[in-house]
Amino acid sequence: MSLRLQARKLACERDDRWLFRDLDLDIHAGEIVRVEGPNGSGKTTLLKILSGQLADFQGELYWNDHPMRRTRQDFLANLLYLGHAPGVKAALTPLENLAWYQALAGEPDDEPARFAALASVGLVGFEDLPAGQLSAGQQRRVALARLELIPRPLWVLDEPFTAIDRDGVAALEGRLAAHARRGGCVLVTTHHELADSPALRRIRLGQGGDDAAL
């Protein structure tokens, strides 16, 4: 089965100002797409639209050549989204956090897999501590462990490199590249410069700032 996320004539207006307009996107399997632009250029908004969270926009989204409205359930079953906030409960341990995500994603309950996922993001020994006692970077790693734990082809990651140390950044970059090689696809915003590769594509936002009527 192929993998294709398309957007046609996407436009989004905020406070009488176009964040972007007439944006056409075609994202395929095996690609890493980096959304670039200055602060306030609508990167997060675009990712939220593309992950089906925002309804206040113009244009059409297609998932595998079907309009998103009709394939939403199917789309969500293939999506892994990581937002600004890590989505990690401070009062729960990393293991408990992952267990909830596993169930939410419809994956079978698998404790060894959760240990392995936490080990892959360098959290061995922290599995049973309340996440609130971990550092910001470690909490972010708990969230990133979902990439390992829950197999999904489409990753939409909003600033995943925030608060991660240098080793972690390198490991994450490697993980993104490996995902693309395996036939997955990654949509990412980041201030961190990704290493050039044939899989990498860039979308630039924020030439705009135009008047909404133009």
Binding site: M1, G52, A77, G87, K89, L104, G106
Partner: protein, 233 residues
């Protein structure tokens, strides 16, 4: 490796996991469970002090007092129903899961009722003694509160979902939700009143049950729609 996924029909697993997660979370923040109960007891303490310690007078107003105080106590904990999930980003993950959102929202509301409405219902007879509530109405008080507070949790969750994205949602939440609570209050307090007078209470309880049935069948969809709106900012 087959990357592409068909949607899986495991809503039950997700609902159970959400129930369990919220229960564990609330048990780790026990003060949040205890606060409404302490508030309930405090408000009930204020009334004899503010009005009169006369047992006859207190007995006359006890059903309404207990119901109003329990209703306000349940309202107190409503704001936090989705707030922490919203703040730490788990709410958007909940919305993006391929499971039916109304069912997941219902699981969260069920936990709220289990740890707020039900304890309040169990505690109310104790406070009833302090207000010299006539004998014979204690069981009805607890039962009507248990039944009614489930509707309150469901209706209140709509308001909580609508205001979760607002920085000062708390006061607005009470404004939105309290008028909608009135039918539950009328039949809940009415049931206790009827028990005191020796009338049949089955009609009252049946209506409370009907209200709960309506709330159960409509509120989850309204909560889900409201959460989707709130996540948009």
């Amino acid at each position: 490796m087959p990357l592409f996924r068909e949607p899986e029909g495991s809503a039950g697993v997700a609902i159970r996991a959400t129930l369990k997660r919220d229960l564990v979370l609330m048990m780790r923040r026990r003060s949040e469970v205890l606060n409404p109960l302490v508030f309930f007891a405090l408000v009930i303490t204020l009334f004899p002090i503010g009005i009169s310690p006369d047992p006859e007078l207190l007995a006359a107003i006890a059903p309404g007092l207990l119901w109003v105080a329990a209703l306000l106590a349940a309202l107190l904990s409503l704001d936090s129903l989705f707030r922490s999930d919203y703040d730490d980003g788990s709410l958007e993950q909940l919305l993006l899961s391929p499971q039916p959102l109304p069912a997941l929202a219902l699981a969260k509301v069920a936990v709220h009722w289990l740890l707020t409405g039900l304890p309040l219902a169990l505690m109310a007879p104790l406070l009833g003694i302090m207000l010299s509530l006539p004998a014979g109405s204690y069981a009805v008080l607890a039962l009507s509160l248990a039944l009614g507070s489930a509707s309150l949790s469901l209706i209140g969750a709509i308001g909580a979902a609508l205001t979760v994205g607002l920085s000062r949602g708390g006061v607005l939440l009470s404004l939105l939700v309290l008028p909608l609570y009135i039918p539950v209050l009328i039949f809940g307090a009415g049931a206790v009143q009827a028990a005191i007078l020796g009338d049949g209470v089955s009609a009252h309880l049946a209506i409370l049950g009907a209200l709960l049935a309506v709330a159960l069948s409509l509120a989850p969809w309204a909560i889900a729609a409201s959460l989707r709106i709130s996540i948009n900012g």
